[in-house]
């Protein structure tokens, strides 16, 4: 576990609204899970407007990452522990 900056990640979308981010996650994921706001990933509470969707594709996590001055990004992160955590604790959704 650690900071996003220390992980292998790509950016799928940037400067999006949270709604747009949710749609990008849905269309790019093979598995989707709903989690509550404040759900911990990389030891940090996830920021988001419910329903908060985390996707998984090719064993990577796809989720929204919001910064106060830069809006919402959609990131694809190689985080095997996070993938297990989401599968174990998220609610599968279509």
């Amino acid at each position: 576990m650690g900071c996003l900056e220390n992980m292998n990640y790509e950016i799928l979308g940037r400067n999006c609204s949270f709604k747009e981010a949710r749609e990008i996650i849905r269309t790019n994921s093979t598995e989707k899970y709903e989690v509550p706001p404040g759900f911990k990933l990389l030891e940090k509470a996830l920021i988001g407007v419910p329903p908060l969707i985390i996707g998984i594709a090719n064993e990577k996590l796809i989720y929204a990452y919001t910064k106060p001055c830069h809006g919402t990004f959609v990131v694809v992160v190689e985080d095997p522990e996070g993938v297990e955590h989401v599968r174990r604790n998220g609610k599968p959704v279509q």
Binding site: F18, P36, G38, A45, I47, V49, P68, C69, T72
Partner: protein, 153 residues
């Protein structure tokens, strides 16, 4: 009298910092401790305006403050969130979800204030005016709502 959390976003809209000091002053007069949760640049602007902490009692990192609320390690009876963009709305919706017992006031300003206010789906009292440089249109409603809130907590 307890701590009250003031959540603030990106400091790009000029009315934000004076609103924080105005709200903090109101809370101090009512016997509360204003705690500001901000990112580093927004925090620096407030600290520069209030170097001796006459208004703001303490600061917290924004993400850390939300993390503490999510963990349940800290609670506030009243949270006042200043919002002028989608990210601010996202942070405030998160706060509402992780601190459902807090009385939440959303203060919306900036050119998209009305559009943002319409998107709100969490329980909150809204104070809205599409201002960027002039705080006056917000103040009467803000006074009313904060006065009501401090009596309620």
């Amino acid at each position: 009298m307890g701590d009250v959390l003031i959540l603030i976003g990106c400091p790009q809209i000029p009315v934000q910092s004076p609103l924080v000091l105005y709200i903090a002053d109101f809370l101090q007069d009512a016997g509360h401790r204003p705690i500001v949760a901000a990112n580093p640049s927004a925090k620096q602007l407030i600290k520069t305006s209030d170097p001796k902490s006459h208004y703001v009692s303490a600061y917290k990192d924004l993400d850390k403050a939300i993390g503490e609320l999510a963990d349940g390690t800290i609670q506030y009876p009243l949270i006042i969130s200043l919002i002028h963009n989608d990210a601010g709305l996202t942070y405030t919706a998160t706060t509402s979800a992780v601190a459902p017992k807090a009385l939440l006031i959303s203060v919306l300003f900036g050119e998209h204030a009305y559009d943002l206010a319409e998107e709100i789906e969490y329980p909150t009292e809204k104070v809205v005016a599409p201002v960027t440089h002039n705080t006056r249109p917000l103040l009467t409603k803000l006074d009313e709502v904060i006065e009501w809130a401090v009596l309620k907590i």
